[in-house]
Amino acid sequence: MIEFVHVSKSYNKGRIKAVDDLTLTVSPGEIFGFLGPNGAGKTTTLKLIVGLLRPDAGTIRVNSVDNQKDPVAAKSMTTYVPDTPAVYERLTGLEYLNFIGDVYGVPKAERLRRIERWLDLFELADAVGAPIQGYSHGMKQKIVLIAALLPKPRVMILDEPMVGLDARSAHAMKEMMRTHCAGGGTLFFSTHIMEVAEKLCDRLAIIHKGRLIAHGTLDELRARDREDESLEKIFLELTES
């Protein structure tokens, strides 16, 4: 579960409000899609959850743990996939995964089983022994994704996870998202791909200029306006100004 309580974050000494008084709860077992135009505050919100940024005001709780008061406990339940996969390029894929296993404390047998499973699913087994430096953008995206899955976290935060993935890997990714949430995990992700959000998400939120302008299930969002509108149309109407 993720709870935002009156969370605000600004840049440039308060001149740019990236997130403005966000209050929102994401329940366990939910795939939650976070939509918004470029610069709306999506990535900032995601970074606030994982502790990459500090909120100016408000509280963020991950499974009831305040991520400012007990950051290590909050982090041990959370993993994060950023929009640009900046990883340790001088390590091999396996060394990187082992590093993640070490810092999250994944037992060896479980580590091996999970790594094998995800490497096969994302078709990365052939490259895992090679330095990440030689990986393509998509391969780097996959290794970060596998690293995020390895600790079997209760909360996963993904920033534009589909970007750079081939069709087969994108499909595997969607399957993974469903499996993760079916087991009681929470998944909070940002995306620009309306189709993905429409088909995959249990609930959605739309953020614009740092403010939450709508949230709910797709049906609830449709009910705000006219029936049978596509998410794309709803999104365009809500973010028009």
Binding site: V50, G51, L52, L53, R54, P71, V72, A73, K75, S76, T78, T79, Y80, P82, T84, A86, V87, Y88, R90, L91, L94, E95, N98, F99, I100, G101, D102, V103, Y104, G105, P107, K108, R111, L112, I115, E116, A125, D126, A127, V128, G129, A130, P131, Q133, G134, Y135, S136, M139
Partner: protein
């Protein structure tokens, strides 16, 4: 031309991080105000060196002028300047032309390969003016003053300096372009950088040894005169690289026609080589470049057993972070050269220099040191400790601990490991490298200075305590202002201001401690007590440094936004 100038401007802004000196920057970044006096202090620290150099020039000029050999001073300065340009140029050119990440942005732009390459060449040339200036500019100015030269000398000297980097850099650039075009080095980029750097270091060392063994090498007026006279070392080397002789003849007093002809030769060859570089840029540059950035991941499927053998078990973040630091440091050539290799090589170079250098001079120096050592074992202990500390600590490892993570710092912020534990692992890594340098230096102290092993063993814990203090200080400096937004790893360590700041702080501290030690001996404090006081002081400093570092880590990891 417009595009070329814009590319030069972009390259200049990206390469010279001078924003800190701009009032606008300081208005918005008040935290960095403290840097300004430090930079000024650093520059002020160079003034005595400059004065010493100018005095040396005056003295040598006075010796050579009656013999009519004073112009050899110019040859010497120009040769040294061009030698430095070649040494640093190889690395600068290779990095700027082929291994710089901005190429991915520049190649698709509507600019010609020649414009890209010449813009990069221009930025390297500007860099090289700075490299050569400490040796060449004072010499040109001092020579002009001593010889009471007029306007013609001033203008020619300015033109000679302006053209100084062109010939050596054009030669280096052409060699690099040809090498990259015809040798497939894309897979061996890292090995190439390390091998190239080691060859250059070896070359510089070899030159030094050769110079030491030349007749006339050594202290004393006669040797100095022989060094600069006709048939001396300067003339011999100058004959092998004639541009320095042409430049000297253009500047030295003599018939105007001869000066003009030599300057025309110097300028003409510079322009000719620049033109050849232009042609090579048009035809060869992109061909050597294309495909270089892509290193395909070699397929290396691991068996289940192979994978299991490589995996560890359970939660052990300290070990994991230590290993990560070790692997990244040792696998990134520029980090390796400034870390492990430098701490091993500096004492080794010292050994070679003392062993292979002029036998008489080396012997004299050793005799003096041994004599001092037998009379003052306390001095040997503290001197050895100082030598070991310098060898182990005056490198970029600790003050780039956080900067080296660069854009990957986000990982350190999201993993569930307390910052103090992460910093502990980083400290152990930096301290291990310092320890390695200290041990190699201890061996050097025993082998070269022939210091008694027992005295070096006593010095060892003092050096280790100093290393702990300096490592924590270096890390604190980097933690206060980490440089995380680099694209070229060179910026994280070699062009990182934190490394320079730490160098000044460390050097200042070592000077104060050395003076403190000397004062204690002067006051007649017993050797054991003086050494003990310094050891305890260093231990206390190390304790305070490490404690401060751990405390600061919690706050800074929270505040640094990645």
């Amino acid at each position: 031309m417009k595009k070329y100038l814009r590319l030069v401007r972009a390259g200049f802004l990206a390469n010279f991080g001078l924003a800190v000196l701009r009032p606008k920057y300081l208005r918005h970044n008040r935290r960095d105000f403290w840097l300004l006096p430090l930079i000024l202090m650093g520059l002020a620290g160079l003034v005595p060196v400059l004065i010493y150099y100018l005095k040396g020039i005056r003295f040598t000029y006075g010796l050579l002028a009656p013999l009519g050999h004073q112009a050899a001073l110019l040859t010497f300065a120009i040769l040294m300047g061009q030698f430095l340009i070649i040494v640093f140029g190889f690395y600068y050119v290779l990095s700027a032309f082929y291994f710089s990440r901005d190429l991915e942005l520049l190649v698709p732009l509507p600019v010609t390969p020649a414009q890209v390459l010449l813009a990069k060449f221009t930025v390297v040339v500007i860099n090289e003016y700075l490299t050569a200036s400490p040796i060449v500019v004072p010499m040109l100015v001092a020579y002009g003053i001593h010889s009471r030269a007029g306007l013609r000398y001033g203008l020619t000297a300015a033109a000679v300096y302006f053209l100084l980097p062109i010939i050596p850099l054009a030669i280096v650039s052409l060699l690099v372009i040809l090498m990259m075009r015809f040798v497939n080095v894309s897979r061996k980029k890292d090995a190439l950088i390390i091998a190239g750097s080691l060859i250059l270091m070896g070359g510089a060392l070899g030159l030094q040894i050769w110079a030491n063994r030349m007749p006339g090498a050594g202290p004393g007026k006669e040797a100095l005169v022989a060094f600069f006279s006709a048939g001396g070392l300067v003339q011999k080397v100058g004959a092998k690289f004639p541009p320095s002789i042409w430049a000297t003849q253009a500047l030295a007093p003599g018939p105007e026609s001869s000066a003009a002809a030599n300057f025309a030769l110097y300028a003409g060859v510079s322009i000719l080589l620049f033109a050849v570089l232009f042609l090579a840029a048009r035809t060869l540059f992109y061909r050597g470049l294309l495909g270089l950035g892509e290193i395909s991941a070699r397929k290396r499927r691991l068996t289940r057993e192979g994978m299991a053998a490589r995996l560890s078990a359970g939660r052990r973040p300290l070990r994991a972070i230590f290993l990560r630091e070790l692997r990244i440091m040792n696998r990134t050539p520029i980090f390796l050269l400034n870390g492990v290799l430098s701490v091993v090589l500096i004492p080794v170079i010292f050994i070679i220099m003392a062993r292979v250098g002029g036998a008489a001079r080396g012997g004299d120096a050793l005799q003096i040191i041994l004599l001092l050592g037998s009379a003052n074992p306390g001095g040997v202990i503290l001197g050895s400790a100082l030598f070991m500390t310098i060898c182990g600590c005056l490198n970029g490892t600790a003050p780039s601990s956080f900067s080296r993570e660069g854009t990957q710092f986000w990982l350190s912020k999201v993993i569930p490991v307390p910052p103090s534990d992460q910093v502990k692992a980083k400290f152990l890594h930096s301290f291990a490298i310092a320890g390695l340098g200290i041990i190699v230096a201890a061996v050097a102290a025993v082998v070269v200075i022939r210091a008694k092993i027992v005295l070096v063993l006593i010095a060892l814990p003092i050096a280790l305590a100093a290393a702990a203090a300096l490592t924590s200080l270096g890390m604190i400096i980097d933690l206060l202002r980490p440089l995380l937004n680099w694209t070229n790893p060179q910026k994280a360590i070699k062009q990182n201001l934190n490394v320079l700041i730490a160098f000044f702080v460390d050097a200042g501290l070592l000077v104060v401690l050395t003076l403190g030690g000397v004062e204690l001996f002067k006051l007649g404090v017993r050797m054991e007590i003086a050494v003990g006081i310094i050891f305890l002081f260093l231990l206390a400093m190390a304790g305070a440094g490490i404690t401060g570092l751990m405390k600061m880590a919690e706050r800074r990891y929270r505040d640094i936004e990645a």
